[in-house]
Amino acid sequence: MAISKTVEGPQAGCAGVQSGMTLMLGGFGLCGIPECSIAELVKLGTKDLTCISNNAGVDDFGLGLLLQKRQIRKMISSYVGENDEFERQMLSGELEVDLIPQGSLAERCRAGGSGIPAFFTPAGYGTEVAEGKEVREFDGKPHILESALTADFAFVKAWKGDSAGNLVFKATARNFNPMMAMAGKITVAEVEELVPLGALDPNEIHLPGIFVQRIFQGAHYDKRIEQRTVQTRETA
């Protein structure tokens, strides 16, 4: 019989998050971010968080909301533009920032969830990113050794999910969500639609429920667009 992961909502989803913990948060820019869990973390007010997320949101949305309340001590990201409060805290030294090449970030999360403690990649060789890391040549090409990342909690957002924690993402909102779900000690999935067990085709699930410990349906999604780029119907 399938293992039920359903919890009431973001409050139950975030239960146990404590100051000083390391969190992973899925999403790319504002696309596919766990909006409801972030709102709940703001309410909880837990401090000194280390947040692993590809980006840091914008001033008034996404992880920017946690930054505003100074809940984050350290960010581990690949790109952190578009956020003035982030810049202020970073320059003032309040916020520690660890920048990681995007592909290494993705693979380090996957490795963390897959029991692979370290792997070699060519990305970052000869740059600051390689400082202090082992270098080894394979096929005459230098690679650096990167280590796995894990988190106390991973917060991910999917399009559909079932009580067993099986997830289906929509379009490019998938991004970092599956690997971060794999790497969380406790993974909390919020979904736009929680469907009955058996409603998802077992052949069409993007992330097996084994990687998810809690799942809830979000009450509301803003889904803000960072760069609305369109063709006007006249010119097309």
Binding site: P101, G126, N175, I225
Partner: protein, 218 residues
């Protein structure tokens, strides 16, 4: 001298039938507009799409469908979505044939710097380090000089590096240059630009062959 669209148009000529191409933010993004109709080329965006199409019609934009520049986009027939680990498996595994990206500095040994200016706000490297460390063909699209008029083609990079010895070709508003044997090799002049103009704007070692044709970008 080329404008941004001219640079993109010239780079589009480098694209071959059957190639998967990753286009960076800025001038590189424009390259997609100049691929000949009917050419079999697919654009990859590292946030998780292959077969990226043009911007959506006003009102059709979908917050869940963006490119790596966070712009709303569309998907072409045959497109596919995937996660970030799979996306960089494609890139790191050399399944993407061409990467086009911008740069602050390029050195005559192929080093590139495009992510950090010491003392200024650092936004991060995003996927650039993975892209330059792996792509078989890397073309840099940029202005030949910076806003202060200083050359961006240098004996060695002064800014923190994004990748070492990786750039093979540079297309600027003034010229097309190949990088090999520790020098910039002039390949083509932009319309109306002289070899002397190019030499004056290039701080790194420049090798000038006897015949430097003007680009044909019509």
């Amino acid at each position: 001298m080329l404008d941004k669209n001219g640079i993109a148009k010239r780079i589009a000529q480098e694209v071959r039938n059957g190639w998967y191409v990753n286009l960076g933010i800025g001038i590189p993004t424009l390259v997609a507009n100049f691929i000949p109709e009917g050419m079999e080329v697919e654009f990859q965006s590292e946030n998780g799409i292959l077969g990226m199409g043009p911007f959506p019609m006003d009102g059709d934009e979908d917050a869940d469908l963006i490119n790596a520049g966070k712009q709303t986009i569309t998907a072409m027939p045959g497109a596919v979505y995937f996660d970030s680990a799979t996306s960089f498996a494609m890139i790191r595994g050399r399944h993407v044939q061409l990467t086009v990206l911008g740069a602050m500095e390029v050195a005559q040994n192929g080093d590139i710097a495009n992510w950090k200016i010491p003392g200024k706000m650092v936004k991060g490297m995003g996927g650039a380090m993975d892209l330059v460390a792996s792509a078989e063909n890397i073309i840099v699209a940029m202005m030949h000089t910076n806003r202060a008029g200083a050359s961006k083609l240098l004996p060695s990079c002064s800014l923190p590096l994004t990748g070492v010895g990786c750039v093979k070709r540079v297309v600027t508003n003034l010229a097309v240059m190949d990088i090999k044997d520790g020098a910039f090799h002039l390949v083509e002049r932009a319309p109306g630009v002289t070899v002397q103009d190019i030499a004056a704007a290039t701080a790194g070692k420049l090798v000038i062959p006897e015949n430097v044709p003007e680009m044909n970008i019509d």
